[in-house]
Symmetry: C2
Subunit: 471 residues, 2 copies
Amino acid sequence: MWGIELLRQREVSLKRQIYQTLRDQIINGRIEAGEVLPSTRELAKQLAVSRNTVCEAYEMLLAEGFILCRQGSPTRVAEGLYIDRSPGAEAYEEPSRHAQPILADFRTGQPDLRHFPRFQWYQILRKAYEEMPLSQLGYTGPEGLLHLREEIAAWLFRNKGLVINSQNIFVTAGSTHGLHLISDLLCRDGKGILMEDPCHMGMLQVFRSKGYPVYPIPVDAQGLQVEYLEEKSACAVYVTPSHQFPLGGILPANRRAALIRFAKEKGIYIVEDDYDSEFRYCGEPVAPLYSMDPQRVIYVGTFSKVLFPALRIGYVVLPRQLHARWRYLRTHTDVQNPPFEQAALAEYLRSRKLDRYIQKMRRLYGERRQVLLQSLEEKFGKEWHSWGDAAGLHIALEFPGMCFDKQFVNSSKRSGIRITPVEYHSICKGKHQDKLLLGYGHLEPEEILKGVSLMYEFIKDYFDIFHTQIK
Amino acid sequence: MWGIELLRQREVSLKRQIYQTLRDQIINGRIEAGEVLPSTRELAKQLAVSRNTVCEAYEMLLAEGFILCRQGSPTRVAEGLYIDRSPGAEAYEEPSRHAQPILADFRTGQPDLRHFPRFQWYQILRKAYEEMPLSQLGYTGPEGLLHLREEIAAWLFRNKGLVINSQNIFVTAGSTHGLHLISDLLCRDGKGILMEDPCHMGMLQVFRSKGYPVYPIPVDAQGLQVEYLEEKSACAVYVTPSHQFPLGGILPANRRAALIRFAKEKGIYIVEDDYDSEFRYCGEPVAPLYSMDPQRVIYVGTFSKVLFPALRIGYVVLPRQLHARWRYLRTHTDVQNPPFEQAALAEYLRSRKLDRYIQKMRRLYGERRQVLLQSLEEKFGKEWHSWGDAAGLHIALEFPGMCFDKQFVNSSKRSGIRITPVEYHSICKGKHQDKLLLGYGHLEPEEILKGVSLMYEFIKDYFDIFHTQIK
């Protein structure tokens, strides 16, 4: 009857099944405009359902204008409802994920989650949840929870010596999110951004994905080469002065001063991404560039690396003149962060648990770094040297004379080795083909040893070298 | 000595205090380039600290390039470090928030949080947390948790009869976030968007904040007036067909069909924002436009209204051809949602708790709506009529002959009444000056009665009317 087949076991009610079938038939044109539908009594009888069920289905069709009912007239299908649907995309399969198993995983930016004190975090989250005022389930504003902003200010003071008013701190959903908003905040009238080259490909894509122009400034072992700074119609310079990504340099004081003088002269901002300087293995964390000129430097920080990536909490420190527009943009981008993790993080900071956790992980990562360097030396002898400062969760290696291109990456992937050449993160290609990045933070010492060993075998075969030295 | 004043009670270590003071003096130019610093032994003695402390401070300065040490030579300040800092912004005070107390709060889009089963949600969150695999603390992809996407698909089928492959569902951080990404996804080459007028001011600002052109299409009591649709170099039409915001119409089937034919002819998308159709007080939820052409309609949903705003979880349903670019944009916008709320929501859906909660709230909101309508009738007699369908958390009222302008709003605010004229949400001003929006979802019946009473007194005085009728 009218193509209606009722399935009584389904969770969808019978009236909805009737409604849907009739509706679909009308849209498809199988029931035509003006056609008379059976009376509710008649249809109920034919489908063996109560008349009420059919009445309700007809009411739904009527409310949405699919049918017309007039006192004393039969129910008819309304006009102008037929649609020739757009052709559907081909049925498709999810991209296959049964790739080669990963035997050596040197990806960068992976903190070790296995050592994260989940139970402790969970207890804090619970407490935060229990104590949360009801109002925080509603909208709490684009700045982030005040309590968290105050704790971040105190933490930045304890750990990096920054004196920051919590009013200048805005909570974000991580560095990428912060940079996304900064790009919309600053890049106007076709202006672009000056970026370190090489730099983190993900951060570069934040700007590129919106079509904002990017102007590369080369980087050496000490970081940004300030002598190459040129105006280029830019609104800001993006830098990682505490630990250049990917090459690892700490920007020296004279370059910092030159950078700030340049920005000041051109009237542009400096975006300082301090993504992992908490993990520095000799000496204290480096003082942020921010402290040298808080009116010109936008400081971007994150808790993804020190806690866990899925937390999705970071922050930016903004000069006063950008506050209003930040609030406006955040409100119309994604409104705000959820409050639970914010409250938990505030407590994690207040109770100094984060300080202790970072200390513990710094020791652990430092040991892993040693294991990595030592095993590289054992395997590769003097054929390499490392770049940059003893910090972060990855290391950049130079193998003079070798060339790590796409073919190398694909081939290594087929051998189960996940490794990134510096070239991947380069804007102007061709300058860093002899360098590899090894992320080690997430690897246990035995995983590092095994990984280096596999990598050594692979590189030896791939380049057909070391034979002479070894034999 | 060198301006160093050590505070031994501070949480900042002595070495850091020494380092910071010297660094600041160098940047300020109070210690000049080339100047010789005291030996570590000497400075330690003068400051009464251990020599180690001073050594460590000097090492930090050395690492960052503030000073130069050469074997056999005294330690000197490096060149080129002096910066004339940018002038600081004036010290400022937070905008004062001790405004008039709110006596009648008719803001729109506020669900009632007091009835939210916090304890139940908390138990589910706890379970989700305990059962969460460690890998979900890392990056889990821009699509959202698979389990949640499957549960959303099942829920959309149960509640709105939509048959959607979970692969087409992408989790967002709420509707605003969804729309923000959609605008970047679709608005290219200067193309804009056709929008209902009036429409939600917040949603309009999502497009405006990025400079994308917006073309208004007028709305009547039934929703979008499809006869005014014009191409206008747009990439999409934004509509709220299940419950037009703010006027409340349900788009009738013939207009739906015309809208889809228009979009098809012009080769553009339809963005369907289904922000609150779960709360419909007569009959079932309206079937989304999506079901009429899944290849052309992008369906935007949210859990902010049905659960609580701070949850920050929504979703979009995208046709296959937009998946890859969505993934790319999400990855470079804010990466992903946090996993905890996602897992909890999946369980809340799976166990049908959301279905029951919506049912309960629908009854409650429906009762409040009745109370509101009744008390409006008691107070205002026949001087008004309501617009739109019996749905959602607000109602649009027309008071023929009255004019609710900015002055009215400011004046009502001073009297402690929070109320929004439809005009606030209008793109082309001047067409809806006789209409007010009353949000009632978050108000208990006695709050509604008191609010209407206050509003009546206020309007009576403000327009100096009703006197004749009353006396």
